[in-house]
């Protein structure tokens, strides 16, 4: 075989491999966009709602009637927002996470941002949760890397758990009593809701819910009361996730849930609408 023939074969093989890699990457991006879906969070300090359709971050100061775009740093590039979290205590730090950007933090309602990624092994963050009572504690779920915790407002991170066996879609910290440490983490996963004390001594299934769960939220004033969504249906529990009951349907596929702590449960739907319920998820407007 001549050198010219060998070169042509190697070139053909390289093109084929490159094409396969390109197709693989393309599939990954589409899957990420599908998974990102949307995110929703409530700031009790400013009575503001934040939502994202996966690409743009919006803020509403009138309970979701009007929304204004919140600009993310241009250095973050084409952000794919996967999660939003607001610390309900202290300055009310706003955290936004996305695949490709890691975690961004703002302490002025989104006017300025800093990237807080030191100590994170990758920037593929798929879920975020702010601690319910510790203002500087935040949790980040990294694709394939487990759960990381920062207790200094994002200056440093450490791996604290590999997470449940199921795929986490949304994570929330709850001040529910009975934890060995300071609270609980509830995870919406593709296999229901999982629950763990925040010392991370084991994620366990919290009750039985049909199919994959897209979102979970808790009432900080009544921490035994939580809400979860599966498809178009919202479920409610009054005993920390032991038993769930169907509450109501917000009128579309639910992508994210957020509770204000003052009796209002918000749901972000797949079509981008944010709807609210003031009767524990039964009726929606």
């Amino acid at each position: 075989m001549t050198i010219a023939k060998l070169s042509r074969r190697y070139a053909a093989a390289a093109v084929t491999i490159g094409l396969l890699l390109f197709l693989q990457l393309g599939q990954g991006t589409a899957a990420q966009a599908e998974q990102a879906g949307g995110a929703l969070a409530y700031s009790p300090q400013t009575d503001a709602l934040y939502r994202s359709d996966g690409e743009v971050l919006y803020r509403s100061s009138d309970a979701g009637k009007q929304w204004t775009k919140v600009t993310l740093p241009s250095s973050a590039g084409n952000v794919l927002v996967s999660a939003i979290a607001v610390s309900p205590v202290g300055q009310g730090a706003l955290y936004v996470a996305g695949r490709g950007v890691g975690v961004l933090k703002s302490i002025d309602a989104g006017n300025t941002w800093v990237a807080i990624v030191d100590g994170l092994p990758s920037d593929d963050v798929i879920a975020l949760a702010a601690h319910s009572t510790a203002p500087d504690t935040v949790y980040a779920v990294l694709a394939g890397q487990g759960i990381y915790r920062s207790e200094d407002g994002g200056k440093s991170w450490r791996n604290v758990d590999k997470g449940p066996k199921a795929q986490i879609r949304q994570l929330v910290h709850s001040n529910l009593e009975g934890s060995m440490q300071s609270g609980w983490l509830f995870a919406a996963t593709d296999q229901g809701v999982y629950r763990a004390m925040d010392c991370f001594c084991g994620f366990r299934k919290a009750g039985k819910l049909p199919g994959p769960v897209s979102a979970v939220a808790h009432d900080p004033k009544q921490p035994k009361e939580l809400y979860a969504s599966a498809g178009n249906q919202v479920f409610a529990t009054a005993n920390g996730g032991e038993e769930w009951e169907a509450a109501g349907s917000p009128g579309g596929e639910v992508r994210a849930l957020a509770h204000t702590g003052s009796g209002v449960l918000h749901a972000l739907l797949a079509d981008g609408r944010v709807v609210r319920s003031t009767d524990k998820g039964r009726r929606w407007e």
Binding site: E177, G178, M180, Q181, C199, F200, C201, G202, G240
Partner: protein, 165 residues
């Protein structure tokens, strides 16, 4: 070389070797006397539930027929290493039940009337021999942040974090 200098050098060598043995953890070396005393306590009071090698009960992550979480492992497969010394001491001393157990009893019984504070410290020190260097590092840092053994358990111990809360 002066005897005092030789002594100082030897101490530094021993401390350095201890640090190396502790891996990258920075966690202090364990007192062999506490480890041995803790091993005896463990076999007498803990092994019947948590296993002779700290392996825990089968299916310890799922509720059993009584609706209780079985005794967890204390070795590297478990989660004991995620807790500070203060928390572990409290668990052994006061007992514990998972709040979502279907029964009200303390599945982990309190040992404050059975073991002395030093014995509780010793048995926890022994458990640390069952962990990986990375787990010891994690647990040491948790102890620095969330609390060391209480004063009554520190008597005669040379291996307590001085700056832990």
């Amino acid at each position: 070389m002066q005897p005092a200098v030789v002594q100082t050098v030897m101490v530094l060598v021993v401390l350095g070797a201890g640090a190396v043995l502790a891996g990258k953890s920075g966690a202090p070396p364990l007192d062999p006397r506490e480890v041995e005393a803790g091993r005896v306590v463990y076999r007498q009071h803990c092994a019947s539930c948590h296993g002779i090698r700290g392996e825990g009960e089968p299916n310890w992550e799922e509720l059993n027929a009584r609706g209780e979480l079985p005794s967890p492992p204390h070795d590297a497969e478990g989660h004991t290493w995620k807790h500070s010394d203060a928390m572990l001491y409290r668990m052994v001393s006061e007992g514990w039940r998972d709040p979502f157990n279907k029964t009200d009893r303390l599945t982990m019984p309190p040992f404050r009337d059975v073991l002395s504070p030093e014995q509780i410290r010793d048995v926890i020190t022994y458990l640390k021999t069952l962990w990986t260097p990375e787990q010891r590092q994690f647990q040491w840092e948790e102890t620095l942040v969330r609390g060391a053994f209480p004063p009554q358990a520190r008597a005669g111990s040379h291996h307590q974090p001085s700056d832990a809360r």
